[in-house]
């Protein structure tokens, strides 16, 4: 009897210990600002925004890796892997998954990016639990069926051809290829067509098993559900995911010496990118990049607008900034008549040189701040926008609150700081150009 009691107590203790291990240290709490964060025992980080203004919900699930885990010989495996997750799991076939997600009115996308692959979901809150459940089941037990891979390869082949036919996309891909060559960030997110054609289901499964684990994942949710329900939903859907995931070493990125890339295209317009490939920036550096973007090419009445308004070179000319884990991009874009490419290149160079030589003015900085803040607010106005931003910045190491932090940071940055950023960061050795069309 005593022995039985002892065994029972030991078993009970083991059970409780196990339960304790499976429970998070602290339950999800949501602050007065509507945001919260929880780390599950498997290492998965979930960031949450609670917003009761609409009965819509959105989620973004990130698996670390993306192009950082690819080489020229495997380029496209991330794109195939993330899409294959929706092509079968232990309880549903591909048809059943698409049928169920459509039944729930869910908008779902699965794509590869520079630092990660991601699935995005948005739907009515009444269907959120079920839709998220389907995706979570796929994350726990994907089946990677061969016949679905064959179909997916054809779809991705079309995706690659469509990207090639789109001058803006083709020029953007060329820009990164010119800057980074065959290194991780120089690869195409849709993949290389030959690599995609040769990829096997076993290789994709091995890739998934290597990189997909709680330790490499971030989930962001924006919803009107009560806190307890969000907590329960996160624990039940993502708690069972295995913890282990291969570490992703920092890439040794070397910028290429040839600064200009060109692809011939027989079209009415040529599409040009010209800008700067920077290292990882801190929060202040990103705010400064955004302010320069607001001054140079965000919307109408900016410096580059002169190329359109007065020089008659384009319908649209603008700048873009993008943050990756190990790099920040800041570049100008212009589509121009094929007969005006040389002039457009000269005008872009002139404007970049002017920026580097003289910096920006007090008034430009004041304008940049108000436009930057308004633009950031717009980015997170919808729940899908919020979930995407929270997941992205949390994964990249800036924190899920990053957009709001940037808004708060803006006013503290001085003109001298921005112009110092210009002088020290926008150097000629980091300026790259891509042209798709005719030169």
């Amino acid at each position: 009897m005593k022995m039985k009691s002892l065994i029972f107590l030991l078993l009970a203790a083991a059970f409780l210990l196990q339960c304790k291990v499976q429970l998070p240290t602290d339950p999800l709490t949501i602050g007065a600002d509507g945001y919260g964060k929880i780390t599950l025992p498997n290492g998965l980080v979930a960031v949450v925004n609670q917003d009761k203004s609409t009965s819509l919900s959105a989620a973004r699930i990130i698996i670390g890796g993306g192009l950082l885990t690819e080489t020229a010989q495997t380029n496209g495996i991330g794109n195939l892997m993330i899409k294959m997750l929706l092509k079968g799991n232990s309880s549903m076939t591909a048809n059943q998954i698409s049928e169920q997600l459509d039944n729930l009115g869910a908008t779902v996308s699965a794509d590869c990016f520079r630092d990660y692959t991601a699935i995005s979901l948005s739907c009515l809150t009444e269907n959120f639990d079920k839709a998220l459940g389907i995706i979570a089941t796929s994350l726990q037990s994907p089946t990677f069926p061969e016949e679905e891979l064959t179909k997916l390869k054809a779809e991705v082949d079309g995706q690659i051809k469509a990207a090639n036919d789109n001058q803006t996309q083709a020029s953007s891909d060329l820009y990164f290829k010119t800057a980074y060559g065959d290194q991780e960030y120089g690869l195409r997110m849709v993949g290389n067509p030959e690599v995609v054609a040769a990829m096997t289901a076993a290789e994709i499964r091995a890739y998934f098993e290597k990189y997909a684990g709680g330790k490499s994942m971030v989930v962001a949710i924006s919803t009107d559900l009560p806190t307890e329900q969000i907590d329960q939903l996160i624990q039940s859907k993502f708690g069972p995911i295995k913890a282990e995931a291969a570490a992703i070493p920092a890439p040794k990125l070397t910028l290429q010496s040839e600064k200009t890339g060109f692809i011939s295209f027989d079209r009415n317009q040529s599409f040009i990118f010209m800008g700067y490939v920077l290292d990882r920036q801190d929060a202040k550096g990103i705010a400064e990049t955004n302010m320069l973007h607001q001054t140079m090419g965000a919307g109408v009445g900016v410096r580059l607008w002169y190329l359109r308004q007065t020089e008659k070179l384009a319908y649209a000319v603008y700048t873009q900034w993008q943050v990756a884990k190990y790099a920040t991009q800041f570049r100008a874009a212009i589509g121009t008549d094929t007969s005006k490419v040389r002039q457009a290149l000269a005008s872009l160079e002139r404007e970049w040189d002017r920026l580097v030589k003289d910096g920006i003015t007090d008034m430009e900085l004041a304008n940049a701040k108000v436009n930057m803040k308004n633009g950031l607010i717009s980015q997170i106005e919808s729940k899908a926008g919020r979930a995407n931003n929270m997941a992205n910045y949390e994964y990249l190491g800036y924190g899920y609150h990053f957009v709001l932090d940037q808004i708060a940071l803006a006013d503290s940055i001085s003109l001298a700081e921005v112009n110092d950023f210009v002088k020290t960061k926008l150097t000629n050795d980091r300026r790259y150009i891509s042209v798709v069309g005719k030169m």
Binding site: S98, S122, K151, E155, D165, Q167, N268, Q309, T310
Partner: protein, 430 residues
């Protein structure tokens, strides 16, 4: 000033947490319709004004003038300020502003921090009613539009879409390319465009919608201040011609520097005020929205004939378009066309299922509420629809879609899905 003030409680029926959102609707003496909604989610204000003029109003002489005019109003200054001064003022106030031209309407939007609502309404009224566009400035804008035409010509689906419209509609005003021809955009005289502007840009020909973190009553006073003194204008008629009934398949092939083929099969649908409208949106969804739709399942999943495929119905004031679009290898175009037609024929014969209908309803309902989530999108949607069918269309849309029966949907499918009279346009590799 006679003010008709109507406060309407629009129950947006957001499932699980119903949100009552109030529109304050006013018609000024000069005929301007004003809709204001307080939305305190983010500290912004969004203004959208839709003018009831689109490419459908153009004669050949004015080909592309509506769109050119939109650009001139946006970028080329008013009686009070030059284009550059206007843009600088926008930048200083943190404003995003833009414009859009369709066959039915021209739309202007501005979105900025809430404390700048006075500026927004003042400059919005100035642009809409006091634009000046000197000839030299106008000439510069003509070139920008020629570049926009280049972009649209380079886009394979855009090219297929516009080419299909031209053949499908014949003498109907929707045959016109909204962008116009380079020749006409380059040559249409400034004074003629100015006269066109004065004819159509009258307050009684517009709806202004304001959504944001504002006080509705105070905002209405600002609208009255900046818009109230503008005199009423004439009420221009549309140039409507009934579409010629189709009896055959027209085939158009365009060769371009592309890596795959782009297919469009287009037929004519109902007008916006048709009761068929709602059922046809469901039919288009069941046919080609999502991986479990009929066309996707058959042509992509089952037969692997296409890279991508979809179907859509464009709601317009007059007869809209129902079209199937696909990307594929050029060698499969005929097979794909036959297979699409066999899917359509099967639906005409056997109909959709109740499960498909319910699925489509959920999809449309979700998309509808998502499309109203952002303040600017909400302002824009109400202004645009109010210009040709009335804002009530937006309010009533979810309920009207929910009320469609399977018999309704199948009847509409039989009526509008055409396997022997449509326009087929393909863009193929050179």
């Amino acid at each position: 000033m006679r003010l008709v003030l109507v406060a309407i409680g629009v129950l947006l029926l957001l499932i699980g947490a119903a949100t009552a959102a109030d529109w304050q609707i006013t018609q000024l003496d000069n005929g301007l319709k004003v809709m204001i909604m307080e939305n305190h989610q983010v500290p912004q204000v969004n203004v959208s004004t839709t003018v009831k003029v689109g490419a459908k109003n153009e004669t050949d002489f004015f080909d592309g003038a509506t769109h050119l005019l939109e650009h001139l109003i946006l970028f080329r200054g008013t009686e009070e300020m030059t284009g550059s001064e206007l843009q600088a003022a926008m930048k200083q106030h943190g404003a995003y502003f833009n414009g859009y031209t369709s066959s039915d309407w021209t739309d202007f939007v501005i979105s900025l921090p809430k404390e700048n609502v006075d500026f927004a309404l003042k400059i919005h009224a100035d642009m809409l009613f006091h634009s000046n566009f000197p000839a030299a400035e106008m000439d510069q804008e003509r070139q920008a539009i020629c570049e926009e035409i280049n972009i649209s010509e380079d886009n394979p689906f855009g090219k297929a879409y516009r080419t299909s419209l031209k053949t499908l509609y014949g003498q109907h005003p929707y045959a016109k390319n909204v962008l116009g021809s380079k020749e006409n955009v380059t040559n249409v005289p400034r004074d003629s465009v100015y006269a066109y502007y004065k004819r159509y840009y009258a307050p009684n020909n517009m709806t202004t919608v304001i959504v944001g973190d504002i006080d509705a009553a105070a905002t209405l006073e600002l609208v009255k201040k900046y818009f109230g003194a503008i005199p009423r204008g004439a009420t221009p008629e549309d140039r409507y011609v009934s579409p010629t009934p189709r009896t055959k398949v027209d085939v158009i092939e365009i060769k371009k520097d592309v890596g795959q083929a782009y297919l469009m099969m287009m037929g004519i649908g109902p007008k916006a005020d048709s009761p068929d409208q709602y059922a046809l949106d469901l039919v288009a969804t069941m046919l080609g929205d999502g991986e479990s739709s009929r066309l996707f399942k058959k042509l992509r999943t089952e037969l692997g004939l296409v890279y991508s495929i979809g179907n859509s119905f464009n709601t317009c004031k007059y007869e809209g378009q129902l079209y199937t679009f696909a990307t594929l290898d050029a060698g499969k175009i005929d097979t794909v066309e036959k297979t699409v037609n066999s899917v359509l024929q099967d639906i005409k014969t056997n109909g959709f299922t109740e499960t498909e209908l319910q699925k489509a309803k959920t999809k449309i309902r979700t998309g509808f509420y998502t499309s109203l989530e952002r303040g600017l999108d909400r302002a824009d949607k109400y202004a645009q629809y109010d210009s040709y069918i009335g804002y009530q269309f937006v309010d009533g849309y979810p309920q009207k879609v929910a009320a469609v029966t399977l018999a309704d949907a199948n009847a509409v499918a039989r009526k509008y899905l055409n396997t022997d009279s449509y326009v087929k346009t393909v863009v193929v590799p050179k």
